[in-house]
Symmetry: C2
Subunit: 416 residues, 2 copies
């Protein structure tokens, strides 16, 4: 049985003594002509370069993938879901086995969200109060109350490197009064989360709310950045907002967050979404899209999305994406992947998940290189052009860059 992974071993092989500052973030380069930054996150379980895309491992497993595969693909931080892990296997097991890194055998950094998203997504099934959110467990049917304190306690037991505050995430179309109320509750819960933290080696990020109101977003960012959080997330987007609203609020919020701390846009998005957010100064992302779409048979490629069950994919001794360096594209043909999906063979989703995640990780690495070279705006333009018009129509490259663009500005349509 392999030994437990100790806190002193990091993915990069650096030996780090307990007590040494376990979490830090530094910006190494800022793009010339945009707000994009290249940085490094340091955690007790290793360093990660930003911009960083975090693979989603909801229940302590990146869907269908072995942690060694995730590492080989270029994975940095893995995200796990406190709400689900709370119900199964529960914080007690994590205390017993020495935390999630040992449990799932992922030796790198792990971020846990707080359960706040479920407050939104399971809104039909929970009761909300100033105390917290009461859910009915799908494991044993018992009522369970998730408070900011309980969330921090569970995340502490899980042993993630980065914890998130419990927030009240609300649909973007909510009326102004409700949006304000949810934001203010988020602020009170954020303070309670900060107070509840017992382990200083686990970083804690706050989550800016405020819907699609610029005024509320300013208020939220102002309140939270006055507190000693280790990083700040932009929450409450991709919950009914239009693409245009999402971009505007992302850009605005990122500008309001302190430059020396990591900025994390939660639950976003497609490759074009990521490129636009990086332009606006975002450092970290998580999204189920690469793995979810893989299980549905859709690949992200250098020229846009490919639905593998389409007839034309049955032909040809060609890889799925000729520009892709992943093991799926190196070893298997698109025709074989098509066959696997038509047959419902589980190897299909697995090979495609690896490809999609590699695609995302490679995008982040390329973005970073372009930022360091000071040419991120033109890199983003080139990348967006290469992607199927269907994918990127409607994306703007960010107002600050209008002057930077070479050539005519394409006519983008706003809207979802």
């Amino acid at each position: 049985m392999a030994s437990k992974i100790s806190l002193s071993e990091t993915r990069t092989g650096e030996i780090r003594l307990p007590g040494e500052m376990p979490f830090s973030f530094s910006v190494e380069a800022v793009d010339r002509g945009s707000r994009a930054r290249a940085g490094t996150l340091v955690t007790p379980h290793g360093s990660v370069r930003t911009p960083a895309f975090m693979a989603v491992g909801t229940r302590a497993s990146v869907t269908g993938l072995d942690p060694e595969e995730v590492r080989d693909l270029g994975g940095g931080v893995v995200l796990a879901n406190t709400y689900h892990l709370w119900l199964r296997p529960g914080p007690e097991l994590f205390r017993r086995v020495g935390g999630i890194h040992n449990f799932m055998r992922w030796p790198g950094p792990i971020l846990t969200d707080s359960g706040g998203y479920q407050i939104f997504s399971l809104s039909e099934h929970r009761k909300l109060s100033e105390d917290g959110a009461e859910f009915k467990s799908y494991v044993d049917g018992q009522k369970q109350l998730l408070t900011p304190e309980r969330s921090i306690e569970i995340q502490t037991a899980i042993g993630s490197d980065i914890m998130m505050v419990l927030d009240e995430c609300i649909a973007s179309q909510s009326e102004a009064g409700a949006t304000r109320a949810a934001m203010e509750r988020t602020h009170r819960w954020a303070l309670r989360s900060l107070t509840a933290r017992t382990n200083p080696e686990q970083a804690l990020f706050a989550i800016v709310q405020g819907g699609v109101s610029a005024e509320l977003r300013r208020e939220s960012a102002s309140f939270l950045t006055a507190q000693p959080f280790d990083g700040f997330a932009i929450g409450g987007l991709s919950v009914g907002d239009t693409r245009s609203e999402r971009e505007d609020i992302t850009e605005l919020s990122a500008e309001l967050l302190p430059p020396q701390k990591p900025r994390y846009l939660m639950g976003v998005g497609t490759p074009p979404d990521l490129l636009c957010a990086i332009l606006a100064g975002v450092d970290m992302f998580d999204c189920v899209l690469p793995t979810h779409l893989a299980w549905q048979g859709t690949a992200f490629t250098s020229t846009g999305r490919v639905k593998l069950t389409r007839g034309y994919c049955a032909e040809g001794d060609v890889p799925l994406d000729a520009s892709c360096g992943c093991s799926t594209c190196a070893r298997f043909t698109r025709a074989y992947l098509h066959h696997l999906f038509k047959c419902g063979e589980p190897l299909g989703p697995r090979l495609l998940s690896k490809h999609n995640l590699f695609h995302y990780f490679a995008l982040m690495a390329e973005a970073r290189a372009a930022i360091v070279a000071g040419s991120f705006a033109s890199y983003a333009r080139q990348k967006l052009d290469a992607i199927d018009r269907h994918e990127h129509s409607g994306y703007r490259l960010g107002r600050p860059l209008a002057a930077e663009l070479q050539g005519p500005t394409p006519a983008f349509e706003d809207g979802p």
Copy 2:
């Protein structure tokens, strides 16, 4: 894109020129006191030691596993299903891509069954005649006729190293007249299959039928072994017969098959089934059990089956099987596997498939070593004793060995 695997490259690295005898079988050792043999199968895609368990890759994919994983686990021959591959992707694609080895990226030996089993398993959905079996394709609804000639043509296009004749597999409880008729048709179809073979580099095995009648089995073996087939399979078992009938017919049939050619027991079985059949002189097996049970959350272990969703599996920083050398047991705890299955996470079935296949492959390797040492009977006794009584009650060790057994003979009960 990796280059096509040429016929001259084998798994063992031997260079084999086209035209050289591509298929052969040799017996290296016979157990002292039983009919068990240790041998080597040589094919155009590499050598395999026998006794050999063949992983089932029905639709050109060993369920959920990457071919490199199958190889790393100790896989030798992979079995693919002509009926399914006929309907999707079809023989034309295999001709275009240069065969199944290239398509699925399995460089080792491949055996294709003929579609004969589907004649039995889909008996409600096919029309049988002397010509062949008419099925309705589940891909496009078209009627398709599978004849011995068509089956050989499809297997030729698939490019398997070992082909099987089309046979009429019938339920064991069929009355004598129907069993005889099916056997005689199997004989005529076997001759037609032999005549239909165009590529001498693809071996062809015949299938002995005759239900649970010793007389018919003798007749079938006598007829088929008079023909120049490269190997002989025992078919028509595990189709309604009792465990006792299955063992008797296996023992009888194996004895009737020539010792210098491989003997293949189709569709069997559990570890005890394999041990008993090896005792009787069988060399090759295929069964979906290790992978099917893995997807249901059941593991084969050195002390019997373990249902991973059982409550006790939630506890303990222990491997699934302390005696197992597979990567699943080396890296993950039983508690984590339990968690994956309770959550429905697809990594669970995948890790368990690897464990179960490793278990089977290791069993074959251990059996072979015991045969070479001349001590297979006592090895089999020890192995059966270690497995949960529930698993092996009812298994006898074969009449020829009664005198070899040390210690009291356990009271086995006959029956299923």
